[in-house]
Structures are given as structure tokens and as C-alpha cells.
């Protein structure tokens, strides 16, 4: 028998355990895609319901209502209304939190009125006893006229029942509205609306006019009739208010007899924690300490696996070299591909730790408290309390951070957040910072407990953040945009993070980062290796020129080989390119090799380390087993005879990387989110000029 495929849309308020349920239903069978035409990530997963039925589950962004106030929430409306945009959902699975059932049922009542078969999953029922909640499930099913399943997504309870309910609901395919809003508000008005088209339910037509969202399938004539309703905007606004009040009246009536809360029960842990976390002083102290812990662990905890990975790739290179026939292909593998891949793999520990912290902060509900604490401050700088989430997750990667600005409803606040987010120190800068700090800052302890290297790293993060808010302040003064700012944030109850959710999040994000960056780095390292080991006639004659130079006559064979290798590199294609840009970067203290790394790191910042690794590997002799760090540490400035990566050059590079907009992917995402090239180009040039000037000043101060 052929299997039946059911398209299921998973919808719910934020903080109801939607992600947990999605993870339980789909496990590792998830993929992240894009909605065609819209730039929002679409998470989909397959779930085996029974031997005869399979479901494709789409995880929609969390929302309180079908009436969107942000870009994120508008996806839910678009998926349900413009059915062509994705495959139409056959069944909608609405998840609600047992503790906030009343509020959660508002969204449920709106969805039910769309007349699509709906299953209601009431989550966190394991908490019912503690909170003193009792539900008359039979009566509630009757009243809501729907399938209801009590679940505990985290404890994996009720999942089988959900699967069965989806199949039953799909087979029965019956759907009826819950709240007949037309009868209660203005029957004549809504009857006129209903008569416009027989193809849509009255509520769908109502949403089209209230949300200005007309599906492609609607005819021109019908659309014109709908637009005629829009003449009386104040009436629409008034009826929307009335609609919401009526829905709550219905929900209250239904819950009165079916949902009971014994208020004497329930412990007030939330209140105690809030007194600390949202406190006028302790709240900020705790937040600062938390950031300190995060950055110290990124530097400290990650160091051990990173050293091991670094050493492993250096050894692998040598082992490969001694086991393969010498030749072009072997050189490509040992000098191009292996250092290139090693350059990506080495970031995994740091990135995973960073993603881990961010996932935990979001899961626990602490992030909302930070939003609360920061709103007034951020507003001074033209942003919104919610901007703190992009700015913090920007420490992982600017791309998801810029996408996270979609929750900000004011366009001006959102645009400013998008423009300044690339100043926050992303994980791609981390390997650059880490290696430079290790080279120029001594590994000592200050103030008795702080590691100096960790402290410098923290200062670089602080610099990025300070620049971001300064830039935001200037933008707020310069941008002539008047958009209304509205702010409301739910403060969810504190939760112990689910290990499964956190682990899946860390794996997914780290994998995406490593694969994306890995592809670029691998390709670039092959190109680089080719450009560094080939060249015009001066490259081919380099060996002869060096040997024939009389000043080199008394040198040992080993020393001679070293000079030949660097002469060859200088005359290779990459050497010629680097030499060409050298004059413009010399004031910053850089030589042409660093110049090459600056150019390639435009693809992705972390390529800087890999590029230098490839350049120095080509130059080094075959028995060299040293790691990238050791190679950089021993690199000599041929003009001064001193170390290349000394304090002035290192500081200048750190500052350059702190400010420059050096990531093609970020530019692309800014273009996508702002829908014009204007903003990414402004970002590229203003950040580039700032980086150049600041590094110039830094170099002059330190040298």
C-alpha cells in the first residue's frame, strides 16, 4: 500500500516548547531551507506517524496571534493565507503551554476559524500538579471541537498520541470555525464581506483586509471589492479590537468549567530569580559577570582541543608527505588542502562553546530579562531592547544575528541594528584574534586571577560592542526615518534548558558554520596554493638567479634552499599580487604576505590564518613539522631583521579586524534583508575606511 504524506504546520506562541516538540517528532531528520520568495529560514522535518502515514512537519516562527507586527510573525499569516507560497498544510498542530492556556487559545481560536483541520497539543502537563491545574479534557474537546493531546515534549510523553491524532484529524478532515465573530460584532458588515467570494471563509477574507495580504489566487474583481472595505480604516481597527475581546470572552466561558487553577499551589521561584536578574544593580552586575565567564571559557576551555587539532594537522601533513610520491598532487594535498582544512577544524571548539552559551541563555528564558534591562539604554542609541539579541548572537555569526532582527517591528530600529551588528566580534574573528594575541600578548595573570590574554580578548569584544553602539548613535542622528516604535516582550518563566534542544542547536549551527566556511576555505586554499607555486618566467628562474648570485656562494645548502624558496614565493603570481598592494598597506605595518591574507579574508575573516598557513607552508622546507602558530612566531621581517608579528603589527592587525567589514556572506544577507545594495555598500566603505585609519593610528602609537 502506498504511504500517505501529510503536511503538518507546527504553530504556537513563543516559549511553549515548540522547538522541543519539533525535535521530538523529527529527531535528526531536519533540514533548514528557505521559503521561496521570502528570506526566512524554514525548518522542516520528516516524521513517521504509522506504517501507512508519514508527516512533513514545518516549524513556523513563534507568534502570539495571526495578526503580525513583525516580519517573523508575518510568515505564519502568509503560510496560512497565501497557500501557494508553501505546500498547503493539511493539518495544523497548535502547541499551547498548560500554564498560559488562556492566552495560547487566542491563537488557536484564530487558526480554527480558518477552517483547516487542527490538533491542539497542550504541553508541559507534567507541571500541572505543581501548579495546581486541573483540566476536564473531555469537556474541553467538546467545547473546542478539536482533537486535544496532553503532552510533555521534554519528557517525550504524549508524542505517540499526537501522531495518532494527526492521522485521525487528517482522515476526518472536518473543520469548523470556533468563534463566529460576524454574529457578535456587526452581522450586516460581515455578511457583505462573506458575499465577496465563495472560495474563502469569512475569516480569511477578514484577514486579507486587516493584514493587507491578498493571495495570488484571488480574482481582480474580488480584490477590488475587498479594497473598498479599506476606506473605513477606523472601523476595521475598532472591529479588530472587538474581535479580540470577543475571542477572550469565548475562551473565558469555555475555560470557566474545564480549566481550574488552585492558586495556593505553585512556588514562586520566578519571583525570586526575577528579583536578582532584573534588579537595578545586581541585574547588570550578573550580566557583566556572565559575559566575562563566557569569554574566559572561549579562550580557556577551547585551548586544549585546539592545540591538539593544530598539532594533529601539522603531523598529518608530514605523514602524508612521507607516504606519497613527491610531485604536484602531493604538494597540493600537503601544502594546500591539509593546512586549509586544519584552519577550519581548529575553530570548532570555540564556536561550539559560543553557540552553547547562546543556546542555553535563550532556553532558560534569561535573554528576555536582558532585553528588559537594556531597552531604555538601547533606545538612546536608536535601537530597541530586542537589538541586544542580534548584538549578542553576532558574537557567534553576523548572519543569523541579522536575521534575528526580524522580531523588531520598527524599521528604523531594525535598520540601525542591521547596520551595526557586523561590529560585534563574530566567531570568524576569533581565530584571527586568538592567534595574534597568543603571539604578542604574554600568557600571564593580572589582578591575581585574570588571564592577560583572555582580558585582551574581552577588551576586543568590548571595543566591537562600543563601536556598534557609537555607530548606532550616529546613525540615529543621521537617518531621516520616522517609524513608530512599539515594544512588548513576554517574560517567560525560567526553565532548565533541555539537553536535547541545546545539543541539536549547537550541532546544527556549528555544522552549518564549518561546512559553509569550509567550502570557501578549501577552494581558496587550492587557488592560493596554485598561485603561490606558479608564476611567470621570473618565478621559474628564481632558483638559477639565487644560485648564480655571488653573495650566496658561502652559504650552506640548507640556507640556500631557504633563500630560493622565498625568492620563488616573491616571484609567484601571489607574490606579484601582494607586492602590488604592499605600498598601500605599508603604513599599517603590513608586508605583502599579510596583504594577501587581508584580500582573501574578504571571503571570510578566518581565512586569514589559513592563508598565512598556506603561504608559509609553501615557503617552508619539506621536513618542517611546525604548527601555524610556530611558523608565524618565527617569521622575520626582512627589513628590520626582527620578528614580523611584533606588538605594533599585531595590534594594528587586531584593530583592522575589529572594524573592517570583511565578509561577503554578511554583505549578501544585509542586501537581502534591506532589499537594496545601498546599505551593504555604505557598510563596506565606511567600515573599511574606519579600519584603515584606526590601524594606521594604532601602528604609529605602538611603534
Amino acid at each position: 500500500m502506498a504511504k500517505t504524506n501529510i503536511n503538518v504546520a507546527l504553530i504556537g506562541n513563543p516559549n511553549t516548547g515548540k522547538t522541543s516538540l519539533f525535535n521530538q517528532l523529527t529527531g535528526l531528520n531536519q533540514k533548514v531551507g528557505n521559503y521561496p520568495g521570502v528570506t526566512v529560514d524554514k525548518k522542516e522535518g520528516e516524521c513517521k506517524l504509522s506504517t501507512t502515514h508519514t508527516a512533513i512537519i514545518t516549524d513556523l516562527p513563534g507568534t502570539y496571534s495571526i495578526n503580525p507586527t513583525s516580519l517573523d510573525e508575518s510568515i505564519v499569516l502568509k503560510t496560512l493565507l497565501n497557500r501557494s507560497i508553501t505546500s498547503t498544510p493539511d493539518v495544523i498542530l497548535v502547541i499551547a503551554d498548560v500554564e498560559n492556556l488562556k492566552r495560547n487559545l487566542l491563537l488557536f481560536s484564530q487558526i480554527k476559524d480558518l477552517e483547516i483541520p487542527t490538533v491542539l497539543a497542550i504541553n508541559m502537563v507534567d507541571q500541572m500538579h505543581n501548579k495546581g491545574i486541573t483540566i476536564d479534557i473531555t469537556a474541553l474537546k467538546e467545547e473546542l471541537n478539536t482533537e486535544i493531546v496532553l503532552i510533555s515534549a521534554r519528557k517525550n510523553k504524549g508524542i505517540q498520541q499526537i501522531k495518532e491524532a494527526i492521522i485521525r484529524c487528517h482522515i476526518a478532515a472536518k473543520a469548523s470555525p470556533l468563534c463566529a465573530i460576524d454574529h457578535k460584532i456587526d452581522p450586516a458588515y460581515f455578511n457583505k464581506l462573506k458575499e465577496i467570494s465563495p472560495n474563502y471563509s469569512m475569516y480569511e477574507l477578514w484577514l486579507m483586509i486587516t493584514q493587507n495580504n491578498y493571495p495570488e489566487s484571488i480574482s481582480k474583481e474580488e480584490k477590488d471589492k475587498l479594497l473598498a472595505f479599506k476606506k473605513d480604516i477606523s472601523k476595521i481597527k475598532k472591529y479588530q479590537h472587538k474581535e479580540t475581546i470577543y475571542r477572550y470572552q469565548e475562551i473565558n466561558r469555555i475555560l470557566q468549567n474545564t480549566y481550574l487553577v488552585d492558586k495556593t499551589k505553585g512556588k514562586d521561584l520566578r519571583g525570586k530569580l526575577d528579583r536578582i536578574f532584573t534588579h537595578k544593580i545586581f541585574g547588570y552586575v550578573f550580566f557583566t559577570l556572565l559575559l566575562l565567564v563566557i569569554f574566559q571559557s572561549i579562550f580557556h576551555l577551547a585551548a586544549i582541543p585546539m592545540d591538539a587539532i593544530d598539532g594533529f594537522f601539522a603531523k598529518l601533513s608530514v605523514a602524508t608527505k612521507s607516504n606519497l610520491q613527491p610531485g604536484m598532487l602531493t604538494n597540493l594535498i600537503t601544502d594546500g588542502i591539509i593546512p586549509g582544512i586544519g584552519g577550519v577544524v581548529i575553530f570548532i571548539p570555540q564556536i561550539a562553546i559560543l553557540f552553547l552559551f547562546i543556546a542555553v541563555l535563550e532556553e532558560t528564558g534569561y535573554m528576555s530579562r536582558v532585553v528588559f534591562l537594556m531597552d531604555k539604554i538601547m533606545r538612546r542609541f536608536g535601537m530597541n531592547g530586542k537589538s541586544i539579541i542580534p548584538l549578542i548572537s553576532g558574537t557567534a555569526c553576523a548572519i543569523p544575528a541579522i536575521m534575528a532582527t526580524r522580531t523588531i517591528s520598527s524599521w528604523k530600529e531594525r535598520l540601525i541594528t542591521i547596520l551595526v551588528t557586523p561590529f560585534t566580534t563574530c566567531s570568524a574573528r576569533l581565530p584571527v584574534y586568538a592567534i595574534l594575541i597568543a603571539l604578542i600578548i604574554p600568557d600571564t595573570t593580572v589582578f591575581g586571577f585574570l588571564n592577560l590574554q583572555g582580558l585582551v580578548l574581552l577588551l576586543l569584544y568590548a571595543l566591537g560592542f562600543a563601536t556598534a553602539i557609537t555607530a548606532a548613535y550616529l546613525l540615529q542622528k543621521m537617518l531621516k526615518l520616522n517609524t513608530k516604535s512599539f515594544f512588548v516582550v513576554e517574560m517567560p518563566n525560567y526553565k532548565i534548558p533541555s539537553v536535547k534542544n541545546v545539543v541539536l542547536e549547537v550541532i546544527e549551527k556549528t555544522k552549518a558554520f564549518v561546512l559553509e566556511a569550509g567550502k570557501i576555505i578549501l577552494a581558496l586554499s587550492i587557488v592560493l596554493w596554485f598561485l603561490a607555486s606558479n608564476g611567470p618566467s621570473s618565478y621559474k628562474n628564481a632558483r638559477k638567479t639565487v644560485i648564480e648570485n655571488p653573495t650566496n656562494n658561502n652559504l650552506s645548502q640548507e640556507e640556500l634552499e631557504k633563500i630560493i624558496a622565498s625568492a620563488e614565493l616573491e616571484n609567484s603570481y601571489i607574490g606579484i599580487l601582494g607586492k602590488a598592494i604592499e605600498p598601500s598597506i605599508r603604513p599599517l605595518g603590513y608586508d605583502w604576505k599579510i596583504g594577501i591574507a587581508l584580500i582573501t579574508s574578504f571571503a571570510a575573516r578566518e581565512v586569514f590564518v589559513g592563508t598565512l598557513a598556506t603561504i608559509y607552508s609553501v615557503e617552508a622546507d619539506d621536513e618542517d613539522t611546525s604548527t601555524i602558530k610556530e611558523k608565524m612566531a618565527s617569521e622575520i621581517n626582512t627589513e628590520t631583521g626582527k620578528l614580523r608579528f611584533n606588538l605594533p603589527v599585531g595590534m594594528s592587525l587586531l584593530i583592522f579586524y575589529a572594524f573592517a567589514m570583511q565578509c561577503m556572506a554578511t554583505l549578501a544577507i544585509v542586501k537581502r534583508e534591506t532589499k537594496t545594495w545601498k546599505w551593504p555598500l555604505i557598510q563596506l566603505f565606511s567600515m573599511g575606511i574606519l579600519a584603515y585609519l584606526a590601524s594606521f593610528i594604532t601602528y604609529q602609537i605602538f611603534s
Binding site: Y64, H241, T244, I245, V488
Partner: protein
């Protein structure tokens, strides 16, 4: 006269931490739809939990939902104090 002025000025923003009030019916038009949808309905009980530094935003519990709203929004929603 003084008392009347005091009554008129009672909004969510004038609550003290820990105070409880009830959203007045006449505020309906001033409540943004989004807040209404989150349970901030006329007649609902509002409790002020915390105020951020500089008196903004306000952390409230309304109708069982915990929310943070800005002072300007809070000041536009009138309430009746529990002792009135």
C-alpha cells in the same frame, strides 16, 4: 478637585512595585492590538513587578501573562486601583 485629578492620572505607569490595578473599560481604544491579544484586556488585573532603571520599561503581570512594556504605552492605559 485634587482628588479628581488624582483619579484621572491613574495609569499602569503610576503603579508602585507590587501594586495591583484593573484596566479601565474606557482605555480600550488606547490599548495596542498586540497587547490586547496578549491578554491586556479591559477589566484585567495588572500587577507591577519591576521597573528598569530610568523608570522604563515596566515589567508587569496582566491576566497571568508576564510582559515588559514601555512607559509611554503604560502611561496611556488607565487603571482603577484595587482600593477604589
Amino acid at each position: 478637585m485634587h482628588l479628581l485629578k488624582f483619579l484621572l492620572l491613574n495609569t499602569i505607569a503610576s503603579l508602585q512595585i507590587g501594586d495591583v490595578g484593573y484596566i479601565s473599560e474606557e482605555s480600550l481604544a488606547n490599548i495596542p492590538l498586540k497587547l490586547l491579544e496578549m491578554g491586556c484586556l479591559p477589566g484585567a488585573e495588572v500587577r507591577l513587578i519591576q521597573i528598569a532603571p530610568l523608570k522604563d520599561p515596566l515589567y508587569i503581570c496582566v491576566n497571568g501573562t508576564h510582559l515588559a512594556i514601555r512607559e509611554e504605552t503604560a502611561a496611556s492605559i488607565r487603571i482603577l486601583k484595587s482600593d477604589q
